[in-house]
């Protein structure tokens, strides 16, 4: 099936890429996430996720960022599949 879906970062599977559409959170959280280079319009690739709601590791540009599961759940990405 072809189409665009919006998923939380935590729901991506390893190796899957998407474009950040929204960071659902307070001002403080948005700022923290943005400072790490994750902001709407950026393309991210999930590198790995740990078992049992562990942190999600994503690649943005040339760097890897680990994001706690609770936060990753609130970063929405657009995935084409």
């Amino acid at each position: 099936m072809n189409g665009v879906v919006v998923l939380a970062l935590s729901d991506l599977s390893s190796g899957q890429s998407g474009v950040v559409v929204d960071v659902v959170g307070g001002f403080g959280m948005r700022r923290r996430v943005e400072a790490m280079g994750i902001r709407p319009g950026k393309s991210v690739t999930k590198v790995s996720g740990m078992f049992m709601r562990g942190p999600v590791v994503v690649r943005v540009d040339n760097m890897e960022v680990a994001i706690g599961w609770g936060m990753a759940r609130r970063i929405m990405v657009k995935v084409v599949r």
């Binding site: 740990m50 562990g54 680990a66 936060m71």
Partner: protein
Amino acid sequence: MGYGEENHGEGGAVRRVVAKAVPWSRRRSPSEEKKMVLLMGNPNVGKSAVFSRLSGVHVIASNYPGTTVGYTEGYMKLGDEKVKVIDVPGAYTLEPTCKAEEVAVEMMTKGDLVINVVDATNLERNLYLTTQLIEAGVPVVVALNIWDETKHKGIAIDVRKLEEMLGIPVVPTVAVTGEGMARLVHRLGEARSVGTQRRTSSQRWAEVGRIVENVQLIRHRHHTVLDRLAEASIAPVSGMPIALGVLFGCFQLVRFLGEGLIEYVIDPLFNALYLPLMTRLSGLLGAEPVLHKILIGELIKGEIDWSQSMGALTTGLYVPFGMVLPYVFSFYLVLSLLEDFGYLPRLAVLFDTVMHRIGLHGYAIVPMLLGFGCNVPGILATRILESRRERFITATLISIGIPCAALQAMIFGLVGKRGVQWVVIVYLTLFVAWLSLGRILNLLVKGFSPALLMEIPPYRMVSLRLIAKKVSMRIRTFLYEAIPIVVFGVFVINILYIVKVFDVLASLSSPVVIHVLGLPKEAVVPIVLGFLRKDVALGFLSPLDLTPKQLVIGATVLAMFFPCIATFVVFIRELGWSSMLKAAGIMVIVSIGFGGLQNLILR
């Protein structure tokens, strides 16, 4: 830390107001004080390496007043002038999102010139801070660091164009090898404040995007061996075995180095140089039993015994230098290697799930690991944690569930003699106590623990020069902190011993020791003495003819019960009296609880 010279005088507040957009020559008269060069940049961009290249030998690590955020300062030559260089805590943005960034912002307003260290392989995110610095009106020079890696990564950057678009000098550098550093220093004089308009963050990102598009070209990049290793060590399936292997290897290495140092360096030195001196002093003090007891201590079989005499000048000095320092040294060496290679953040990610269950995030694994060397640096390292709640939980868990290297050596030696299964029981009990107490503290301790969000830097080759500098700085800090405490502690304990405070404590606690823990009456004094040195106290248990079960209980209780005096003092200094009292109460309850449980279950 308090022993560094702090130059953040009263003028700071005033200066902060006028600091805006004034070039550095005019900001204060030359005679007023030394000029200050600040190194600022994102975390993990090699800022410390640049610092180490610029600054001389005399480097001081301090804490920013009123915070737990640490920074280092040193001096460098700029023309004929000696100026101060400060390695400011890493920051992603000047709109602070954490304590370290708040400190960075505050320090920026006090500096005369900023060297903005930028990771050339991560231009976009790094330039965000650069644009903020330019906007703030401080004179900035950009060190385009990690320049050598751009080639491997297929990144081409037009430095001249970047310079033009930013309007400030940009110098490619490889701080680890020193490449470009001379040019960087040479061009510091060109720094001036450009002072552009204040922008919103989205305007800034747009500007950064425009610059990056114009100056950077990314070609195909091929995976290196290190990249592959990086991937394998973060994927859960391969990451966990790798982590366990790395940790096991590290502990073996630390023990091997530590034991080697003690056997071939420290002990010969003590015996050849210091023993004759002390023996003479002991002879001179023969007529003064009280003074002899305090300074030299008890003679064991007519001779001074470094670890058992318990005098301030004998055991008091031998413990920090002869028993702890070798392990601390080898521990810091191994830890610095892991740190500089870039492994620690991966460890933090792998352990985040576990640590989350006890109200901490993955990074708390670092102080916990340090605690296995010596609890003192472990508790000091809780400074890297953001909230007070996290620091309290971590420090308490370290004091209870993490046996230090010296104690572990005794556990292996004494308990291990009765069979490996008993050692396993001790460690298992400690782990269960650590985990269950962590879960309980997570429910009980108020406050919040911020979620994990951190960059995972790529693996990088380590520079031995930087490692040597780092280890020597950490050792120096350890010596300043630990030695006065231990010497003073032994001194005080000896006085308490003489005035029979310990006898009172022993008779008060003997019902618990005998009936709940099932230990003989003679075990009471060693356990109370555990406050001073847990490993030595465990040694006192050995001649008592205990059953393996009793020995296991004794070792477990000693490990969990009150921290040693050095840990105790550092705990108070880091977290305050009331936290220490709370933690102490928890320790007593937990150790008696688990010791009693062992007494019931084991046979």
